[in-house]
Symmetry: D2
Subunit: 308 residues, 4 copies
């Protein structure tokens, strides 16, 4: 099952659950995968930046992918970003063999010109093989690479295997509008645009033409609802639900502690057994933990389903 050209909904970014001693927690992977499916996600992305991909050895990465694919009934995309094409190719080859729907590639943070970015994706696409669908990860806040809309169009045009945009530019609303306008006027072929950046602008991104979310906020079930309500044109209801979660979304979107927040909430929700991060990740301080608890308590009042 490859990434479909009409992908929409929520491709949830899966964290990697660890035991307190740092070993991978298979039972939590299974429980989490089941939870995602039950929440209505339409896809799962594993081994992204917030899946702690760079902290895994190759064999571990392959094992995680195998486990999730074996259990999920939706397309599974695998992050394969690497400092060199050899590791990228090796992981792509192995996970596509296991049935992955495609791979996700972020640009190395040294790229500084449009030409350099376009060349990088051409070479990456060639390295992994022209038959492997890939997702562009456009996340300047983390990767320091800024892709103008014209660069994305160029990558899409030059690489038939480019299958999706994980849009997490910030600010990024005008970029969605620009890309969709080009699709309408025929100067760019359609690709699904799913949005990341912890959903901080999901409310308006949907209205600008995004097809859904590709992020891992600790209430992916809410993301599914926001995307659905928005697609149905129920603007106020979509925003009402979104706004109820925004204080926590904002708190979880912090670079650095954000992933610890996410794992902590997923643990409190009973989805994963431990909120352990591998190094160099750090646990929440007691003060931060109390703040998250407070946000959860407030959230439960506004979104009763969000009671933990």
């Amino acid at each position: 099952m490859k990434i479909p050209n009409d992908a929409k909904g929520v491709y949830v970014i899966a964290p990697t659950p660890f035991h307190p001693d740092g070993r991978i927690d298979d039972a939590s992977i299974d429980r989490m995968t089941d939870f995602f499916i039950a929440s209505g996600v339409t896809g799962i992305t594993v081994l992204g930046q917030l899946g702690e991909a760079p902290k895994m050895e190759h064999a571990e990465s392959v094992a995680i992918v195998k486990r999730v694919i074996g259990r999920a009934k939706v397309p599974v995309v695998v992050g394969v970003s690497a400092p060199g094409f050899a590791a990228m190719r090796a992981l792509s080859r192995d996970v596509m063999g296991l049935g992955a729907a495609g791979v996700m590639i972020a640009p190395p943070n040294t790229l500084r010109t449009d030409d350099a970015i376009a060349q990088y994706y051409r070479q990456a696409a060639e390295a992994i093989g022209a038959d492997v669908p890939f997702v562009i990860q456009d996340y300047p806040l983390t990767f320091s690479v800024q892709m103008a809309p014209a660069v994305i169009r160029r990558i899409v045009a030059e690489n038939p295997s480019c299958a999706m945009l994980k849009h997490e530019d910030w600010p990024g609303l005008e970029k969605i509008s620009a890309l969709r306008a080009w699709e309408r006027d025929g100067s760019m072929r359609h690709i699904p645009i799913l949005c990341g950046n912890n959903a901080l602008f999901l409310d308006f991104e949907m209205e600008r033409g995004a097809d859904g979310a590709n992020t891992g906020y600790c209430f992916p079930d809410m993301l599914v609802d926001v995307v659905r309500l928005s697609a149905q044109g129920k603007r106020d209801e979509a925003h009402d639900l979104f706004d109820a979660h925004l204080p926590l979304i904002r708190y979880e979107q912090q670079p650095g502690p954000g992933l610890a927040v996410r794992k902590y909430v997923l643990m409190r929700r009973g989805i994963i057994a431990s909120d352990t991060l591998r190094k160099p990740g750090a646990a929440l301080t007691p003060a931060a933990r109390e703040e998250v608890d407070y946000l959860l308590a407030r959230l439960a009042k506004r979104d009763p389903r969000a009671r933990v």
Copy 2:
């Protein structure tokens, strides 16, 4: 009136109002200044990054400062960041002569080591004169300079004229806690910490020990209330008010379009006459304008005083 050592409350970051043709709009400066005072701010910072400081000629900068100081009844801090110490000294000298309470200095974005940052502030303090109180602007998102807590402590220790921290690191909650802990254990003298970054974390920053806000969100009157409620220990009320504004705060915090949002809302509120930005700033697109209108309409339902 110099920056007091017990500064607290809201030092609002003032935008610079222009006529549609780009000339400075004196009447709007007056109206805006009066509005700030009526809103209960305890200080005003002019010519910050979002005051479009680099777009002003020296004489214009001096005229703006003179006008605001002449009208405000609170300390006025002036942004004097410049690529060289000559321009910094010239503006500091002129505005201190007009009665400014102090100046604000951001680090040039080429600094990369603790030593380099500390040296920069020593040389800047020497350049402007040891009698001129200065505010450290710690805003890595814009300036790409990361100041570890120990660097801030060092700047404070090495420069008696360091009078305040404009804290807008992100994530930054643990930094506030670290600095306050050092004040408590006596390893750092007290300086006021006022928070920027469009107030995106003001709710928790207050609880971590901040003294207030130093930002220009388009409802500074609300910032005054949040700071007051939080200082009074009315946690839930502070968060309730803050959360009502968070969708718009988040929208205004976007780098780039954020200032256009701010000016647009201030114009809609009748505080400034035009939302014009000088180049290279751009106006809001029609889509963005509609989104802000929608956010304002929603806000008015949750915070009736925020009706525009």
Copy 3:
């Protein structure tokens, strides 16, 4: 006298001579200007990065330009890079009124996409006025902005007042070849390309199609000879002379101490009276001074005219 479209030879980058107490040293400016003319330079660029431009107040900048223009018999280009267009426009206006041949503009180091770079130069050209010839300064090592050849071509195409490229990309030989190939095939109009980066690759840059040098190495008289020999096709002689200077060129090209090296040698040559830098520049350490002395002694053996 505007920058001619067939500019060639050496546009020397002039340092700004200071008295030991930091005041501008007019007598040294005069002596230095005379020396440059006597050395055969075809132009002089003042207030560049290594002219310590950001350390000058506006009135000082104008006075320096006035003094050099009044004495030089060659085109004088003035660096006007600034964090905002207001200061850039003000300085351009004043120096063009004094008879400058054009201005030089470096990009702010926050630009990250081809579109952003092109837009910046359009807005800058508009700000200073369409009748003011400007030089693109392409120096990624210092400014962190990488301009692909296509971006330079675009700036040239979009701005009739773009009059020269100060090429100091590194590595940059292929860029010269690419631009010259476009001129030959008619897809780009001709502009002079003069090379900077302390002449570290001047030998080969000339052979790739550059028109000369635009840098301030402490023996500009040698640069004049290398450019002449190379233009005459005397390859071996050009390299022989260049190689004799390369150990010192390399030493002076160091970011940071490089300018102190340059001023120290110019002082030892009797061209300026003091090697003082304004802060944040630092003097050479005794060890570095001894190294420069040693390099000068060795140089004098290989290039007898370089005896100091």
Copy 4:
């Protein structure tokens, strides 16, 4: 054989020879290793940045290390820099098991404070194991991380397994002086300092207190001689030899094409069979190749042993 505390001489950075189709060329590895030993190097560093490390799969990396260790009679250091500690630990474990003398670790280019750099090396040292000697790679030009001298001292103090500094800061002469002064006054324990950056300042680095070179310039035999002459106090002879090579050193030091220059010369010297680079590396253009040929021809006149 672990990295000795009195390491000196030349630890040559080995390129990775490929066949024209990109496969690893074992025969060239053997010939190159023998050549290094015959040249008098005191150590070999494999899988550095210019060993194209990120382009190798794990198994390939291990095979290369095994082959070199099996043949070399000197300590072999292995670059293990990786975006995560898992891959770093895996490679360290495997190569130490094969008899490597230690590993080399470069900082990820996101580190921006002294504390963050120090913490990174603590965690890396813990990840690879306290018994594994490691080399700090201090190369801001490539990695964008600036380590103040005090940070290096701190890393050395905090990690007993820190065994060497690969110094390639630029400018970096004062850093060597600072570190050696601290060793003399007892505030820092001794570690060997070997210099990289293609030896561009090796002449003076030796005089400032460096113990040798750790770079891969295409005439490592010359590096051995320069280090020896300098250590013997034969200053003029060391500089004479160095200066003869400087035009080519400078040409090879260019980021990007530099590695292609190096491989091309090693191929012309008959040491490796092909100058192939794996992607994203590119071959030299014909113009560049001609320039290198010209430099080699000139070099042969000044250093007869450098005839190729």
